[in-house]
Every structure is written in C-alpha cells, then in structure tokens.
C-alpha cells in the first residue's frame, strides 16, 4: 500500500483500504413466452450473452391459477409469459440451468406460494440444497388489488399466504425474497412520486405489522425478517426527481424500521430494491425514441451509489407495439452492459452527497410521503385503505391528471404531442415489421403437457396431497410444506389454486355494481325507458342482457358500469362477473334466453374470445337469437375483424357516453324485433 497517498473523496476503498470499484447490479431481462421449452432456450441464450440473473414472465392462466386445458385459459396460453402447469414444466423451464447459481426473479402473485413450491421441487429432485437458492417471488397482492388485477383470494387469505412464505423462507431459504413490495405498478397506474413512496412503504409496514402480530417469530427472527423485505420500483423520465425519490425511499425505510419496529442492525434496515424502468411513457408513435427514454430512466436508479438498484431489467424499445423479439431484448441488455462495464460509473462513491439541491428535494418528498403514510395507517393500514377505495381513487385521479396534461400539451411527449412529423423508422422494416408473433403450436404443447402429467403421475399421491393442502388451509397451519408435496406429487397449477379457492373463496373487487355513480338522467333516459317498455310488450319479456368478462384480466369496472347502466334504463341484466370462459357466458345467455350478450375484454385477446363465443352460440343453435356486442380496448384494425365475425357493435374508450351505448344496444334489439315481425 502506498501510504503517502491519502485516500481521496472520489475513491471507493475496499476492506484493506485499497481503491476499488463496485460490483455491477444484477442484469436481467423480463422474459418468457409460448412454452417452457421455448422460454428455456431464450433464457440460456440470454445467459450466454452475459445476463446475470433470470426474470420470469408467466402467462395469465398460470398467474390466475388455471391449467392450460381449462376453457378459460385457452385464449391466453403463452401470450404474456410462459405457461407452467406442473413440476414437469418447471423442470423443462430450468433444463441445463444451474438453479444453485442463479438469481431468479418470478413475477408471480396469486399463485406465488405454488411457484416457489415448484422451484423448491426442482431443487429437491436435483439434490440442490435449498439454502443455496436465491431470488424473489413478487407476491405483492396489495398492488394486484390496486392496479394489476391478477389476485385470486380475498385480502386476509392472500396476506396469510405471504406471511407463511416469509415464515418458511427465513431459515429454509434465507437468501429468498418471499415478496417484493411493488411501487412499480403504482407508477404505471398513474402514481406521483409521493404516492409511490407512501403507498409502497405503507404496504410494507402493514405487512410487517401482520407478521409481527402472527407471533410466529422470536424478536431475533423478526429482525431478520425485516431484512428480507425488498422492493420493486419504477423509474420514470423525470430522472432527477426519480433519483431523489430513491434516496427518500432509503432514508424513510431506515427510519421506519428503526422507529416502528426497533431494528437495531443497520444491515436489516437497508432498502433493497430491483427496478424495471417505466413502460407507461413509452410511445407507439416514433417508437425508436423509446430507446433514449429507457437510457435516461436507467440513470435515475444507477447514478447515485447510495440509492442504486440491486437488480435492473429494462423494457424494449418496441414494447408499446408488441412483445419484444430476442434482438430487442439483446439491445436493452447491451445498454446495461455498456453502462456497467464501459463507463466509470462504478468507480465512485455517491456523487450527490452534500448537494444542497438534492437534499432539499429529498426532504420535500419525505415530508409529503410521511403525511400520506400517516393518513393510511390512520385508516387502519393498507387493507382498509383498499377496501374503502381510498387508494384506488387517488391513483385514478393522478392518472386522469396525467392524461389531461398530455392532451393539452402541458406535458410534452416528443413524437406524440410535439414534433410529430418524422421519417419512417427503418427499425420497423424487416420481414416481421418489427414485431413479435407467437408460435401457434405453443397452446397445443401446453395442453399436451398437462394431460401427460395427469396420466403419468400416481393418482393417489396427488389426491392425498391436495387433501392435505385443503386441511392446512382450513386449520390454519402452514400451507408451504403441503404445497411442496403437491409439487412433488405432480399436482397441477389449476388443482393447487382450485383447492384453495374452495376453502378461501375468490376475491371480488369492492368497486361493486351497486356503488357505481352514474351520470345517467334526463330526457334521453326517460325516452329510452319508454322504448324498452314498448319492447317488453312486443317481446313478451323485458329485454334481457347478459354482461360478462371473458378472459383473465381482472379489470371489472367497465363491465360493472354497463351492467348498472342497463338496469337503470330498464333492461333485466344478468351480470355474470369476471374471469369467465366464453362457454360460461354463452351458457348463461342460452339458459336465460337473453336477447344480447355484452362482453368486456381488456386482455387483448378479443379476437380469440369472440371466436369462441360464436362457436359456442352455434353449438347451442342460438346464433340467430342472441346479438353480441363487445367493449374494451380494441385497436381500429380489429374493430372491422370483430364486425366481420358477427359482433353487432364494438365500443371502445372513445365511446364514453353511457347513454349513447345504451341507445345503440336498444336500436339493436328493436331492429331484431322488427326483422322478426317483417319475416
């Protein structure tokens, strides 16, 4: 050591006092699609390109707890991620990937305990020690209720599942993050930085309150459990403020864990987080600009050493257009590698230490966030704040302010509301037009896989495992070991989730049909009621409409507004609820002898779902008796396709006047009645 050289403020020193530099964050790409085999190939090629961790995307049926051969799953298999039906699929997914060397992050929530059980199952059957496993199950149901929609069970049961995972992991898989408190999705749903800070921290505090209350841990264990709480955050385009937000997160978490939970060890108070930068702000217009947005957003979570992410995954430049292709993901990966390995970023201590400007901004964010956290804790924590709709309406308000600002041009988005003229992008050339198309055979493979597992397993062992799981769910003992036995016994995803559905029931959001406020009154409503009265005389019954949501996205608001509006103008409404297969919706309509089916679809699978609706109507011989209307986020190109399939009316977000929609549906029923009279 050269003693004459005193350490410099711009140097990082290692434990020997030698100038050093930091290790880079974990570099990952959020990916998975089609089938376990295809995803495995993708993961292995990503690892070969220098990616240092895995981030697994699951398809909606896996996230919502359905097998691939369930009728409700069919249109969604392998769409937004990989389908996993059983331990056999999980082995395929990690084929030739050494799990003991991986840091694996799974974006899984309602079925998180199940996917962890499957991962444990892979390790056990390979003879890997559980203590060697590292990674994260996202497992944050609070943000599912608020923003993301793949919840299954009611809040109290969901929180019990989360708590039991912490209790299991603490000593069995000490390097596993049982859950990831997500502020990511809150920003995607419109949250301001203050709301992101406050809602995420209130969520973490409420979870720790619950774990403490359950009394399963000694004080020493509880302190370590606090140390296992990790976060998943978002980083937007206002990157200076975002950097300050991350510093505020770290300081606030340190303060709350010390003040509220008495955590002595500084190590367990550290704010550990992974990040995916913002997708909400990525544009479909001039998509190549998104590459710069992603770059700048990444700076917000890497520049400051004291508030640097532990793991980073980046979206792809064309995410607003489609799922990314392997090349698009590689492009994002290369940017992380350049930042971590080419630049000198990792050689310096914190760059903003002592900055008056940054200090002042961080203090402001902390003050506002504390106020909001106090408000939520004053309501009794996050569960009451969700059930009362407080948090949801705060987000909805922020989101509409954001959209209004973009519409008026107060918030500039380059290529979207300013400088919209541009040359055509050569990136969108190529044979595939710059977008990814799914292999159609994926769904067939997934169904074959689950059938094979059921045929080859020991049926008695599987049945006994499911019974033991239900027994644990009922008597309050931990469901983790029974879940692992289910995994080893080749129980399927749908069977595991179905068993717990039987015991816990399913959550239905508090937005409830009766709570809807409608702006429906006046002459047009009166006139419509008269027309419906006349229709009732002609038909021999009040016109009947079946309203339901085929598919797996959990956003029930649109369907509920339509159901309530229809009753308000005089329809008899059969509201079928969310997460239905097209078969179930058609069955309702046939048994109820309905005049109209109103289907709300936001999952992007409207073409497949409409096709299934019409197949089922034909199977019941009811095609010429029941009209179908569809509402949802439907791209203009697909509107014509739906009309071509026989959908009578397509309503998109531009049809926001409820009375217009109602009149249009009544026109339809009238036309049918007149047609019948004429013929």
């Amino acid at each position: 050591m050269a003693e004459q050289d005193a350490p410099q403020a711009h140097q990082i020193l290692d434990s020997d006092g030698e100038p050093s530099s930091d290790r880079p964050w974990i570099i990952r790409t959020y990916s998975g699609h089609s089938s376990p085999k295809a995803s495995n190939e993708l993961y292995r090629s990503n690892l070969a390109k220098g990616q240092t961790g895995l981030s697994i995307a699951f398809d909606l049926p896996t996230q919502c707890g359905y097998d691939s051969d369930d009728a409700i799953a069919r249109p969604e298999i392998g769409k937004v991620g990989v389908p996993i039906n059983s331990l056999d699929d999980m082995h395929l997914l990690f084929d030739e990937i050494p799990v003991e060397q991986m840091n694996t992050s799974m974006t899984i929530n309602g079925t998180a305990m199940w996917l962890l059980a499957l991962y444990v199952g892979v390790a056990r059957e390979r003879g890997v020690e559980l203590s060697e496993l590292q990674g994260t199950t996202q497992n944050d149901l609070i943000k599912e209720y608020l923003a993301r929609g793949t919840y299954i069970y009611p809040p109290e049961h969901s929180l019990r599942l989360i708590a039991e995972m912490y209790e299991f992991c603490l000593d069995e898989i000490p390097k596993w993050n049982a859950s990831n408190i997500c502020s990511y999705h809150l920003q995607e749903a419109g949250a301001t930085p203050t709301q992101e800070l406050a809602f995420a921290l209130a969520n973490a505090i409420s979870l720790l309150d619950l774990i403490k209350e359950r009394g399963e841990f000694t004080d020493e264990q509880f302190e370590r459990a606090v140390g296992r709480i990790s976060f998943f955050v978002n980083a937007g385009i206002r990157f200076v403020e975002e950097m300050c937000k991350m510093r505020a997160f770290g300081e606030l978490w340190d303060e709350y864990t010390r003040e509220r939970f008495g955590v002595e060890n500084e190590k367990y108070r550290r704010f550990r987080y992974g990040v995916q930068v913002n997708s909400l702000g990525l544009t479909e217009a001039q998509p190549e600009n998104n590459a710069w947005r992603i770059l700048i957003e990444t700076l917000g979570v890497t520049l400051s050493r004291d508030a640097r992410a532990r793991a980073v995954q980046l979206p792809a430049w064309n995410e607003a257009l489609s799922l990314p292709r392997p090349w698009d993901q590689q492009w994002s990966l290369r940017f992380q590698q350049i930042l971590a390995f080419e630049t000198d970023l990792l050689e310096y201590p914190d760059l903003f230490e002592g900055s008056v400007v940054v200090r002042s901004k961080v203090d402001e964010l902390k003050r506002d966030a504390r106020e909001e956290i106090d408000r939520i804790l004053g309501m009794g924590g996050v569960i009451p704040a969700i059930e009362s709709g407080y948090m949801k309406s705060a987000l909805v308000r922020s989101m509409s302010e954001r959209i209004a600002a973009i519409n008026t041009g107060d918030q500039i988005v380059v290529g979207l509301n300013r400088w919209t003229e541009g040359l055509p992008s050569p990136l969108l050339g190529g044979e595939d037009g710059g977008i990814f198309t799914l292999d159609e055979s994926a769904a067939r493979d997934a169904i074959a896989s689950v059938e094979r597992t059921r045929a080859e397993r020991d049926p008695e062992r599987a049945a006994a495992a499911v019974e033991a799981l239900k027994a644990a769910a009922r008597d309050g003992s931990s469901m983790m070991e029974p879940s692992i036995e289910c995994a080893l016994a080749r129980v399927t995803t749908g069977e595991w989730a179905g068993a717990l559905r039987e015991v816990f029931g399913e959550y239905r959001p508090a937005t409830g049909v009766d709570g809807q406020q409608l702006s429906l009154a006046g002459d047009r409503v009166d006139a419509l009621r008269e027309r419906i009265g006349r229709l009732a005389d002609q038909l021999g019954h009040r016109p009947r409409i079946v309203v339901g949501k085929p598919g797996l996205d959990g956003h029930s608001n649109g369907a509920e507004v339509i159901a309530v509006s229809a009753r308000h103008v005089g329809f008899d409404v059969i509201y079928s609820g969310i997460r239905l297969s097209p078969d179930e919706i058609v069955l309702s309509a046939v048994e109820e002898d309905a005049d109209v089916i109103g289907a709300s679809v936001l999952s992007g699978s409207h073409l497949e779902l409409a096709e299934q609706l019409f197949e089922q109507l034909a199977a019941h011989g009811a095609s010429d008796r029941i009209d179908v209307v569809v509402g949802g986020i439907i791209p203009p190109g697909d509107v014509e396709k739906l009309r071509g399939m026989g959908v009578q009316r397509v309503f998109t977000p531009s049809d926001y006047e409820l009375i217009d929609i109602m009149e249009s549906i009544v026109d339809l029923v009238e036309a049918r009645v007149e047609g019948a009279v004429a013929s």
């Binding site: 009728a71 009922r474 015991v503 029931g505 239905r508 049909v513 009621r529 419906i532 009265g533 009732a536 005389d537 021999g540 019954h541 009040r542 159901a563 309530v564 229809a566 009753r567 308000h568 103008v569 005089g570 329809f571 008899d572 409404v573 059969i574 509201y575 079928s576 609820g577 239905l580 297969s581 078969d583 179930e584 069955l587 309702s588 046939v590 048994e591 109820e592 002898d593 019941h620 011989g621 009811a622 019948a676």
Partner: protein, 318 residues
C-alpha cells in the same frame, strides 16, 4: 320461432338447454295470447305421459346469508349422489321500482359443469322491490316440475311477500346467518311461521353456537302449536360441516313424488294472477260475480282456458 311446439317439447324432454330456456320464456310471457301456447305445451307433455312430479324446494333468506354459495354446493352434491337426478334452479331477485329493470342471478357462484344437462339455472325478476316470488314463478314451475326431478326456488326473503313460497313449494328452508339479528326480525315479521326447516349457515363462525340456542328457544314461542319443533340444520359451505344431514333431508323429499299439490294451489295462484293483472277490481269481480278462484277454475276446465275466459269477462266490463 321456426321450431314447432312438438319439436321444442321433444328436445326439452332431453333437457336441451336452449329448448328448455325458450319454453320457460313462454311460461313467463304474460301477453293474453300466450295462454294458448302454454296449453299446447302442456298438452304435448301430457300426451307423452309426462306428469308434474318434480319436487319444489324453496330456499329463502336475507341477502348475505350465503344461500347462493350453499345452493351451489348442494346442487353439485345432489347431482353426483344420483346419476339420473336432474335439478332446475330458479333464482328470483328484486326489480328496480324506478326503471323496472333488474340485476339478476348471482350466476358466478354457480360456476361449474358447463356441459351438464341435468342442471339448469334461470334468473327471474320479482317485478317488485321487496323480493318474494315473481308473477310468473308459479307458471314456470308448472313446466319445470314436468322436466326436472327437483325445482329449487331461491328467493330473497325480506317481508310478507315471502309467504307466497309456502303455497308453491313442497318444502321450504329458511337460511339464516349467525347473529344477523335475524331471529328477532323473522319472529316479528311472522316469517318464522313459513319454513318447514331452518338452516343456520356459516356455522364455522364463532358466534354460531349462541345463535343456534337463541333460535331454538324462540321456536317454541313462535310456533307453539307445532307437534315437534322444525329441524334446524347447522351448515358451513366453507368447511362442508352439516351438509350430509341437510342433503339427506333434501334427498328424502326429492325422492318422494312432488308437485302433486300444484293443482291444489292453482286457485291461490289464479287469485294472485288476477290481482297482478287487474288489482282490487279484478279480485272483486272474481269473488263477487264468480264465487272465487276455485269455482271459476272448476267452471272453466283448466287454468289456461280460465285465464282466457277471465280476461274476456273483465274486458267486457264497462
């Protein structure tokens, strides 16, 4: 409408869902000329030797008592208990008095067996905001008891209108939830006199034991003349507790020929139909000019012809 009545009836007898649904619509349709179509359907069924022998089970209770969830479990169990058994569920919900429209059928809780013909689910609007039976529930039962072994009528019990179900069902169950304060309310409303059996649901909840004893105690007060107290079943759709006993009770009733009383009850429902269509004026005419519903039905050779005849009579009035 291109299918003939005979074709529809033939398919409905094999429980084809679309055909059963369309026949139900005919029995719900209150336009005068539909009486003729109903007579046609009944004649076709009679001609095929199909009698109204299905058992009518009434299940009533306040919203939130968990009766939909309970019913969905019971129907699954009853169907798997006997491969030949068939069940129709008729769920009656209140209508809005402002718009006339209704939000019907908690079908989400009945989510199973999409290909199972032996189970049929239909919603009905009560056309009143108090709950109780709808104006055509009786009519629809005349059809369904000819097609299914069991017709379960689920109603929201809120007031006196609930007494109607006693006239229609072979056996009525009242579903209560622990400590809903229901015991006292039902006692006051006289509703406690209606059911043949009580179901104290959600007995997994800690307060259920106290509720059970309270209910037991109030029974003697409310029904002092019963030879033996009506049974109280304690159930939980969550844990499955008590379902075996309740199902045994249901099966015993379903396996006995039911619906025999439908004819006996015709006068009551004829009177109610007159009241629905013509109000007090009609009821007065029926009583004073024709000596009441029973006489009128006897004089006019059957329900459908009696309806047509009465409509003529009333319309002929100045």
């Amino acid at each position: 409408m291109s299918d003939t009545t005979d074709e529809l009836v033939e398919r409905a007898r094999s429980l084809d869902k679309g055909s059963v649904a369309r026949l139900i619509s005919r029995f719900e349709d209150r336009r005068p000329h539909m009486a003729e179509h109903r007579a046609e359907v009944l004649a076709a069924l009679d001609g095929a030797g199909v009698a109204p022998t299905g058992t009518i089970i009434g299940v009533t209770g306040t919203p939130g008592s968990g009766k939909s969830t309970l019913l969905s479990r019971l129907t699954v169990d009853l169907l798997s208990d006997d491969d030949s058994r068939s069940i129709a569920v008729l769920a009656v919900d209140p209508s809005s008095q402002v718009s006339g429209g209704a939000l019907l059928g908690d079908r989400t809780r009945m989510r199973y067996l999409p290909d199972e013909r032996r189970l049929f689910f239909r919603s009905q609007a009560s056309e009143s905001d108090l709950g109780g039976l709808g104006p055509s529930t009786f009519q629809v039962c005349r059809l369904l008891t000819r097609l299914f072994d069991c017709v379960m009528i689920e109603t929201v019990g809120i007031g006196q209108s609930e007494a109607d179900i006693r006239h229609l069902a072979d056996r009525v169950y009242l579903v209560l939830q622990p400590l809903g304060g229901d015991e006292v309310q039902f006692l006051k409303a006289g509703i406690i006199e209606v059911p043949d059996a009580f179901i104290l649901n959600k007995c997994d909840e800690p307060s259920s034991s106290a509720s059970y004893h309270q209910l037991r105690a109030s029974m003697w007060l409310a029904r002092p003349f019963d030879e033996e107290a009506p049974p109280i079943f304690r159930t939980s759709a969550l844990t499955g507790e008590g379902l075996d006993e309740l199902e045994a009770d249901l099966i015993a009733r379903i396996d006995t020929i039911g619906g025999a009383g439908l004819r006996e009850r015709e006068p009551y429902f004829f009177g109610r139909w007159v009241d629905d269509e013509w109000g007090r004026h009609g009821v007065g005419v029926l009583r004073e000019r024709f000596g009441g519903a029973e006489r009128f039905l006897a004089d006019h050779g059957g329900y459908e012809t009696a309806q047509a005849a009465f409509a003529d009579e009333v319309l002929r009035q100045p």
